[in-house]
């Protein structure tokens, strides 16, 4: 495999990540075909781990399959669904599957998903997960037991650039940096200036920031209010504009918006790439580029 996403962003190239959710039907052929059609345009595929607390296919298995197809996956590891033993085991599985990039997240609360009565685990949080992976690389598991040192991962973490208040979010982001994260992937932003306070607040750090962007579904916009999509804040004037449109007009307007946003972020020079999410509209991602 060529350089990992960490090496590419460090060398200054603009990384384009596309998000894919492992399907609920146990059949990966469509997902693999879509990811294959992105080759050359999209550097890596973010494989989600039961995104939005909704049951999905196995992230580890899906990422492994993409890797075998010559597509670079980023494996999401969420603290919501497993304790430190399960998460450590996933990390070992990632090594066995030759996966080199992990996105370590706490995970949306089950209250948002399709299993609202499920037990939220959160035995560790994202900072502790990052620290655990770095310790495993040094030959210690979460409980300090010895294991064979693991190869170094490229570790990504989430950050909400539009958080209000921002200071506690920045404080946690700094902890992630100290724990050893390489890249931040922000939750979706809709305008370049949404990133500014976060980037300024982080100051001079070696960690690269990839901006999240979202191609929302019409229903999400119609029912949108702050908080309806965890960590994602759509500027209210944009919501109003989109809501006034019929679904067809919204579809092209939102795609145009994201297309312009990706171009703006690319020329802005302050972020190392974009991570495009388009749940339910994944086949439109290529058009945005």
């Amino acid at each position: 495999m060529a350089d990992s996403i960490c090496e590419r962003v460090r060398s200054g190239s603009f990384e384009v990540v596309g998000r894919l959710d492992p399907p609920r039907n146990g059949n990966l052929s469509q997902l693999v075909a879509l990811a294959a059609s992105w080759k050359g345009k999209i550097g890596s595929v973010l494989v989600t781990d039961n995104a939005s607390a909704r049951l999905g296919g196995s992230a580890l298995l899906t990422a492994e399959r993409l890797g075998r197809e010559g597509i670079e996956p980023i494996l999401t590891v969420s603290c919501r669904d497993g304790n430190r033993i399960a998460l450590g085991s996933t990390v070992l599985g990632a090594v066995a599957a030759s996966l080199r990039t992990l996105l370590c997240v706490s995970g949306d609360h089950p209250a948002f998903g399709d299993h609202q009565d499920a037990k939220p685990v959160y035995d560790m949080d994202s900072v502790q997960l990052i620290a655990m992976v770095r310790n495993m690389e040094q030959g210690r598991d979460a409980s300090g037991n010895e294991l064979e040192p693991l190869p170094r991962f490229c570790l990504a973490a989430a950050a909400c650039a539009s958080a209000d208040p921002l200071a506690p979010q920045l404080s946690k982001a700094r902890k992630k940096v100290r724990a050893g994260v390489d890249i931040f992937v922000t939750l979706p932003v809709f305008r370049v200036d949404q990133l500014e306070p976060f980037l300024n607040g982080l100051g001079e750090i070696s960690v690269k920031v990839i901006a999240g962007v979202l191609l929302p579904r019409y229903e999400e916009v119609v029912s949108y209010k702050d908080g309806s999509i965890p960590g994602t804040f759509i500027p209210h004037d944009l919501v109003e504009q989109w809501r006034a449109m019929d679904p067809g007009a919204f579809s092209s307007a939102s795609a145009d918006h994201v297309k312009r946003l990706v171009a703006d972020l690319r020329s802005w020079g302050k972020v190392a790439g974009v991570c495009i999410s388009a749940p339910g509209r994944e086949d439109e991602i290529l058009g945005i580029l």
């Binding site: 919501r80 430190r84 706490s106 949306d108 609360h109 209250a111 948002f112 939220p120 959160y122 035995d123 560790m124 949080d125 994202s126 900072v127 502790q128 620290a131 979460a142 989430a158 950050a159 909400c160 958080a163 209000d164 208040p165 200071a167 506690p168 979010q169 404080s171 946690k172 700094r174 902890k175 100290r178 724990a179 939750l187 702050d226 908080g227 965890p230 960590g231």
Partner: protein
């Protein structure tokens, strides 16, 4: 204190099945304060059960008796004669009291009349809110007196998740984000260095269920070996 909520009447009635001599046992401490299982509530439930049985013209007797605490043997002892006359007991104590009563009188079925909710505080008249998960490893010293284990919906120890909405919790917009509150409190006390320190993993073996606490003075008496 421990906060509980009275179970719906139909649920209690159905649990009792055809039993006809019922003792409703109230508890005079926490559940009395939160108006779920004290003397008044025990008397009320006994009357409700009598009325429901009357409507069905059943031979039925429900009486109420309330003790100071059901989590203490010396008080449960006082119920001995009353339990002996009953073919079922409905306990309105918290889960601990219900179990202790059932343990003391193992020949009689004991049914819960409340759902035990949490360890909390009386926020206002008629409003109780949770404050403690009894994790057996108190973090309050480094979090400005606000418990992240309890007050954060995810129990995160190192800061807020990305879902904070204008200072409120992503799970419940009525609730403050625990980490926004912790940050604000520590900033006010010029102790922000506390949040910079990464919190270690929870030691769940310290809260292995069921837990046991032995007062240092009683160590010899209760320690094994």
């Amino acid at each position: 204190m421990i906060v509980a909520q009275r179970k719906p009447f139909a649920e209690i009635r159905d649990m009792l099945g055809g039993r006809s001599r019922v003792l409703v046992a109230g508890c005079g401490t926490c559940v009395a304060v939160c108006l779920a299982g004290g003397e008044k509530e025990a008397t009320l439930l006994a009357s409700q059960l009598m009325l429901a049985a009357d409507l069905q013209k059943r031979d039925f007797l429900a009486t109420a008796a309330t003790v100071e605490r059901q989590c203490d043997r010396e008080f449960l002892q006082l119920l001995r004669d009353r339990v002996a006359q009953a073919d079922a007991v409905v306990s309105l104590a918290c889960g601990a009291g219900i179990q202790f009563l059932a343990e003391m009188y193992p020949d009689v079925p004991v049914f819960p009349g409340v759902d035990t909710s949490f360890i909390g505080v009386a926020e206002d008249a008629g409003l109780w809110t949770e404050r403690c998960r009894s994790c057996n490893q108190c973090w309050l010293g480094m979090t400005g007196g606000i418990c992240p284990v309890t007050m954060c919906a995810k129990g995160l120890l190192n800061g807020p998740c990305s879902g904070t909405v204008h200072g409120k919790c992503e799970v419940d917009p009525e609730r403050e984000c625990a980490w926004a509150a912790i940050y604000e409190r520590l900033e006010r006390q010029s102790r922000l260095d506390m949040v910079d320190a990464p919190a270690p993993l929870m030691k769940h073996n310290r809260s292995t269920r069921p837990s046991r606490v032995i007062h240092p003075a009683y160590k010899k008496r209760f320690s094994i070996g």
